[in-house]
Every structure is written in C-alpha cells, then in structure tokens.
Symmetry: C2
Subunit: 190 residues, 2 copies
Amino acid sequence: MKLLEDRILRDGNILPGGILKVDSFLNHRIDPQLLYEMAQELKRLYAGEEINIILTIEASGIALASLVGYVFGCPILFAKKSKSRNISDKVYAVEVESFTHGNTNTVLLSKEYLRPEHRVLIVDDFLATGAALVGLRAICEQAGATVVGAGIAIEKAFQGGGERLRAEGLRIESLARIAQMRDDGLSFCE
Amino acid sequence: MKLLEDRILRDGNILPGGILKVDSFLNHRIDPQLLYEMAQELKRLYAGEEINIILTIEASGIALASLVGYVFGCPILFAKKSKSRNISDKVYAVEVESFTHGNTNTVLLSKEYLRPEHRVLIVDDFLATGAALVGLRAICEQAGATVVGAGIAIEKAFQGGGERLRAEGLRIESLARIAQMRDDGLSFCE
C-alpha cells in the first residue's frame, strides 16, 4: 500500500537493533485517517470472505483494529497481556514473546467472546518473527474458531515470520512489507 | 447518551467492590459502531471548540480515542504505562493510581508530540476517582498545551472525581453518568 510505504519513508526512524520506530503515526501518536485508509485496503483485500470478528493484542494493535472493526462492521476482541500465570478456567491463555520489548507475556482472552462460529481476521501493527500471530492463532484454535487470515500494517519480511506462517497455509495481507533494513535506510518487497 | 445507557443496562455486569464490567462492548470485546456513535456525540457536544489533538491512556482508552480521532479528524496520542521509573528527559512523566487494578503506574508521553499549540480533548473509557484525568491534565500542563475538556464514556459520579474536577474548572462530558451502583443494579444521573 503506497500510502503507508510513503509514510514509513517520510516519518519512520530506524533505531539500532532492527527496531523501526513509527511512533509518530502508528504507535504512541496515531493518524486515524491513515488507519481508516488501511482498514479500507484490508476490506478490499478480504472482499468476498466472511469475517465476523476482529482479533488483536494490546496495546499497539488496538487503534488499527478499532478502525478495521468499524469498516468491516464487526466486533473487535483484544487479547490482554498479563504478567500473571494465575489463569482461571474462563480464559484462553498463550505465551507470546515480544521482539520489541525482549520479554514474554501471557496473553489472555475470555472464553465467552470467541466461539466456533467465529470467522476471525487477526489484526496487528507489526509482523516480525510472527510470535504474536502464532499466539493469536493458537487462541482461535483453542476456541474452535476459523482464522480467515491476518491483516498487518508493517511486515519485516527479512525476519521470516510471515514466510513461515504463509508456508503453513495462513493467509497474511501486510500493507507494507520491508525487504531489508539497515541503519541508513530500508527497502520494500517488490 | 441513551444508546450507551441502554447498553450498560443490557450488557453491563456489576462485580463486588464497585467494579462495573463492560467487557462485552467497551473493553476486551468492543463494539466499534457504538464507539462511532459515541464519538459523534462528543463531536456534537464540543461543536464550536477548536480541538487539534486527542489524548488518552493505554490500553482501554485507545479504542474509543481512535474513533474519536477519526470523527474529529485529528491525531491521537496515547500515554504509555510503565513500571519503570527510569525516565529520560525526552518524555513527560506522571504517576497515576488505577482504581480498577489497585496499583500505580508511571505514565509517559514523548515530549515531541505534545506542544503549546495543541488544544487537547482528553478521552477515556472510565472516570471514577479522576486519577487518570488528573495525570493526563498534568502532562498537558507540563507541555504548555491547552486542555479544552474531557470526553468520557462512563462516569461513576458517586466516586466524586468528576465533581471535584469540574469544580476546578475542567469541562467534562460523560456519555453515561452513574449516580448509584449496588450489587443488584445501578441508576443514572438525571
């Protein structure tokens, strides 16, 4: 999606350690009109697919998912991060490692909100190693829900998570796919 | 706002300790069409006021703020919670006590995103003791920005935070104001 790629080139910052900082429009400071256009693009890409719920993970996925839910006309679920391993039998729980934060969180979702009749679009801001996506897919499997696909803002294709998950049969639509990233710049996949 | 009050009566649950659980439409599971209507109502209430940025706090304020930003046509900032007290000179930082979680977080906002020319609408899902609102207002004061007012989904008026802050001159528009809450039910302010 050219609009997002242009915005990354204009406003993104590359930090040491392979971190792409998009704090000025996607995290921390958010441009809701850009998110709306991104949601419309995901709607176009998934046209013809029945999707009746949007699933994301707190905190940075919530803003995009909110506009996606609005555009798709269906509810949003956000899985919650918890340091606690003291989990009740009323929640689905998976462990998810964060590339950005260098830690592992238990991610929780109330069982009452995700059921076998749900056809899920997983939404997140970043796809790198794929850990969050694997965790959210595992929650859907526990619930017996169908994962129609994933809608990602920025995929760091060079980290391999997207390639591996597509090979496993998961449909992933990433609105910007970064092929290479060095301290002095980045390039997008063709 | 009758739409929200009716939804609280239909789908809200009162838990021991004065917790109103609205997980099925406002937190955790979110109804984006309801949030859109709430954003439109805030737009109507603040008609004629110049507002050029929306400020909220992660995580549960982000969904509403995203739709409010979309409807108002202006960027959203979300202050981040951090356990760390190791704060750089590039962020504003305040301490905020959480009524729901019974803990205190340091709340951070990058200085580069909030400046004296900003006219801020603070958005949050709940107003109880007012701690989050006081914290976000303090960040705006540190930045030299103007707080035009606050837009709240649900105010627990009986906890007094809203009354105290209005007496200090802060404009607060709450879309549902709960006068009383007992284990067996609640009533709204007239």
